[in-house]
Symmetry: D5
Subunit: 128 residues, 10 copies
Amino acid sequence: MPTQPSKELERIPNPKPERDYEIEITTNEFTCVCPRTGQPDFATITIRYVPDQWIVELKSLKLYLWSYRNEGHYHEEVTNTILDDLVRTLEPRRMTVIADFNIRGGLHTVVTARYERTAEGPARLAAD
Amino acid sequence: MPTQPSKELERIPNPKPERDYEIEITTNEFTCVCPRTGQPDFATITIRYVPDQWIVELKSLKLYLWSYRNEGHYHEEVTNTILDDLVRTLEPRRMTVIADFNIRGGLHTVVTARYERTAEGPARLAAD
Amino acid sequence: MPTQPSKELERIPNPKPERDYEIEITTNEFTCVCPRTGQPDFATITIRYVPDQWIVELKSLKLYLWSYRNEGHYHEEVTNTILDDLVRTLEPRRMTVIADFNIRGGLHTVVTARYERTAEGPARLAAD
Amino acid sequence: MPTQPSKELERIPNPKPERDYEIEITTNEFTCVCPRTGQPDFATITIRYVPDQWIVELKSLKLYLWSYRNEGHYHEEVTNTILDDLVRTLEPRRMTVIADFNIRGGLHTVVTARYERTAEGPARLAAD
Amino acid sequence: MPTQPSKELERIPNPKPERDYEIEITTNEFTCVCPRTGQPDFATITIRYVPDQWIVELKSLKLYLWSYRNEGHYHEEVTNTILDDLVRTLEPRRMTVIADFNIRGGLHTVVTARYERTAEGPARLAAD
Amino acid sequence: MPTQPSKELERIPNPKPERDYEIEITTNEFTCVCPRTGQPDFATITIRYVPDQWIVELKSLKLYLWSYRNEGHYHEEVTNTILDDLVRTLEPRRMTVIADFNIRGGLHTVVTARYERTAEGPARLAAD
Amino acid sequence: MPTQPSKELERIPNPKPERDYEIEITTNEFTCVCPRTGQPDFATITIRYVPDQWIVELKSLKLYLWSYRNEGHYHEEVTNTILDDLVRTLEPRRMTVIADFNIRGGLHTVVTARYERTAEGPARLAAD
Amino acid sequence: MPTQPSKELERIPNPKPERDYEIEITTNEFTCVCPRTGQPDFATITIRYVPDQWIVELKSLKLYLWSYRNEGHYHEEVTNTILDDLVRTLEPRRMTVIADFNIRGGLHTVVTARYERTAEGPARLAAD
Amino acid sequence: MPTQPSKELERIPNPKPERDYEIEITTNEFTCVCPRTGQPDFATITIRYVPDQWIVELKSLKLYLWSYRNEGHYHEEVTNTILDDLVRTLEPRRMTVIADFNIRGGLHTVVTARYERTAEGPARLAAD
Amino acid sequence: MPTQPSKELERIPNPKPERDYEIEITTNEFTCVCPRTGQPDFATITIRYVPDQWIVELKSLKLYLWSYRNEGHYHEEVTNTILDDLVRTLEPRRMTVIADFNIRGGLHTVVTARYERTAEGPARLAAD
Ligand SMILES: [Ca+2]
Ligand SMILES: [Ca+2]
Ligand SMILES: [Ca+2]
Ligand SMILES: [Ca+2]
Ligand SMILES: [Ca+2]
Ligand SMILES: [Ca+2]
Ligand SMILES: [Ca+2]
Ligand SMILES: [Ca+2]
Ligand SMILES: [Ca+2]
Ligand SMILES: [Ca+2]
Ligand SMILES: [Ca+2]
Ligand SMILES: [Ca+2]
Ligand SMILES: [Ca+2]
Ligand SMILES: [Ca+2]
Ligand SMILES: [Ca+2]
Ligand SMILES: [Ca+2]
């Protein structure tokens, strides 16, 4: 049964919840469509997070990122959407999503969105 | 109707105002003229900002940067002018503009200007 | 007598316990097996620590890393296991283990686990 | 009218047919699907050719490469197909197509196909 | 049924036998054992060939390279063995195998073996 | 009197005409306009030549390249035009002009045009 | 009238004194003489400062750096001298001068001197 | 009279004691012997310090590093010994010695030792 | 019994004499002494050869290179001596020795010596 | 007696005249003056030659290159002058001098001059 793209992110128990450790996942295989022109966009996505009880199951992450292939998204919006979906599923202590998009109109855009559980109000962007 | 360079920066609503996230836009296609010699100058411009209610519309940013093509500007002045124009239009939480100019007279100049809304007085330059 | 892989980490006295100094050991020769598919995984391991009374004996470290060659381990788990084993043997003041795994399914994963003796509760991950 | 992917390669007259000169076009925005697994593949495509009477119209080349987005192709086959299509349309003096595919199963594949008009029989691959 | 390492190289028909084109496959996931010390060796293998009627099926190539994991081989011998096995299976027009081994005893060794069908006697090594 | 862009290439006597030696001049400060969209294009130009009786006077070369700033040119055409102008002025033994244009529509284009005096007919493009 | 090297640093008004922004100027064209051996020394100089009322006039900076060409200076001394001269002329809020000297006797030396107006006593070296 | 390796570190007066400035000296010409195997070890040494009244005389530093050529030292010990010798001679405000050793047994070791005068007890290792 | 440096190069049978294949061995751990000043010199040595009946035994090569540690040699002479010793022992079909010496007096020297058995007279240096 | 710059190139006997071997010497410490503006120029010089009976004595080469420090030279002329002086002194079989000059007026110039004894007439510039 060939695998299918899916919005369903799966999670598995964190093998070491008693420690704050960081997982960084990078892929240069993200592509979606520009809502304005309908033409393909390409980006390198980096996900860095400190898990709490759950870590992301890698195969489901691949299918989730694949699910954007034919959807229309703006750079800023899709970076935050990916962060929100992952935060909702994993409830991590901290997480950063970076989307580094290919050049369009001579402009190279990188969007960096962060989430930190401790911050009650809108998450402050920790100084880089 | 071919597009025209324009000082008119356009903005669109921030899709995620409740979160502090960072947008970095880079282009190596900035050129203006040296007021002293009248000869062309070339630079790589990097714009890094944390939006509040507004994000910059990329096409208008391209036309805005293009508008400097035949204008006379000194390195230090033009970097601050670009930052001021963008801050006036977007009212971001934080913004940095870096202009990395080609070598002239054996000297390679990079100007970095920062704006932070919280600082009442002249913005302190956050340590790099 | 040819050497054998071994879980036995050996330690030798720290030549300068009265000073906080850092030892960084890197190897791109780590390989184990994926528990799900049974296929080989490859990683670059970096160990950075501030020793207290003991430093790791390098030859035994090589045999210890070799001992994973035919064992099934997930990325997140094995990084923490290596950190735990080294911490148990050396009782360092601080230690970081970074495991940078080869690309699988288009995804490149790096796991970073830290230990700090002073922190009573689960070690806080110092902001990068 | 939003543009559409299309197999229709367009050509425009060579501005300097009396000279042998070389055009190299590179894009890291090629994606198609693996016929076996149905999963996306990604590649950087380089096209190097010495035109005769015709050169490729760049916009049509973009739409042509886009047309592979949801098609199933093996690495070796698709590189030759792209070369054949371009050769049929442009009838160049010489042309090389290089497809540098992302890592799959730990293997990184690059396919290089060459065409030379003068060679009557199957084109000899000039030593690299 | 989990896959198994295997000496069985599989081949599939060349989609374009009438053209000389080159396929380059690289992996940094090759490991075998040093016959003298019994300790693991690591290498990056590059395979470059111009196919005739057959091209190598990539999954079988991965299992074939995996089959060396626990075998004792010297650098020079194993590079030629891999070339011989591939030549016997694919009967290519030309093929090069490069094995770039990790540093041992301060020495970094790269072995490059070439096969050319046209050469009757022992294949001449084309000048690099 | 501020300098002005000018199509007037100036030449000075070759200090060593009895020897074949090569001069390579590179600049990343070339910009012209796209005839189709009217928008700026940017390129790095490399000029490599073996002079006969004349070498190019560098200041005039700078003013000559500057003269393209507001002119509409296609990549392929302008590379050959620059080569023709330089050949007409310097009558070199050999000359190559390479124009490496910024990415447009995801495509990165490099045009390489060569001239060789000895070839009576249209210059053969020497293998790279 | 050909320009002359000169110790006379010129300054022009800061176009944006109300903002803390940073100017970085780099040149790999600094050369002076070793007082001990009389032989030439070469260095790359980087000047990074936050201007107050004045910014340095670039042409005069070039002539000032040129003035060291035939003077005898030790690495440590000349780095501080350049910083002192610039601070005396520009009275900046902060300034750093880095001198990265070519290898002598197998040793590669980099001297970094900082000035901060707010610090009353000898300027503390801000942690890198 | 040919120079001789010597443990005698010489110092000369700091030309600018009233300022905290940093001197970084790097050499890839350090070699000593492994006490266990008797075989040569090679390292790149970096010395970074903020001088107080004294700076190191470079020639004597070269002869001092040369003095290790035939001595048996372990990585961790020799890095601290070099730091101690330099601190005893120069009494600097701060000093760091980094020894980056060549790969042995597949392991690449870097030792970083710091000294800070202000800290009464054993110097705390400033977070990287 | 600790190993000793030795001029005794050992050879073992070529596993594949019927094929021309190339072996490249590189080490950055070569050091000898300058005959004029008595001070240490450091170099990276690259040995590239096509074996006939014999290949070099790597451990003996390490001990052979180690034997130069305290000997006085000029760059040009020692490169040819190493080539002669290896050629005498291995009688290869072709061999190149490259010695890339550290900077001395601002000059960085690389010596490349080649041997080719077929050339009766003094080996012609094949164009790079 | 401090050393002095000097046009006097010294030569010493080639230790291996019966073999064609190559010596490459590089320095980034060449500086002279621009005849037109009187301002300093900087270049990296590479000298590659196959010696016959003589090799250049390195110290004298350093003093020879130093002798250009205050002389006015154009890029093309000085590269050929250096080649002529070295050829006159060493009478090598082949020699190449490459002068890679710093950017002036946005233009980066590299001059490559070759000499080959066998060619009776003016040396042909072998295609690179
Ligand atoms: Ca970026
Ligand atoms: Ca810069
Ligand atoms: Ca900065
Ligand atoms: Ca990483
Ligand atoms: Ca590749
Ligand atoms: Ca290839
Ligand atoms: Ca290699
Ligand atoms: Ca290119
Ligand atoms: Ca440095
Ligand atoms: Ca520093
Ligand atoms: Ca390191
Ligand atoms: Ca560290
Ligand atoms: Ca090779
Ligand atoms: Ca070199
Ligand atoms: Ca060469
Ligand atoms: Ca160059």
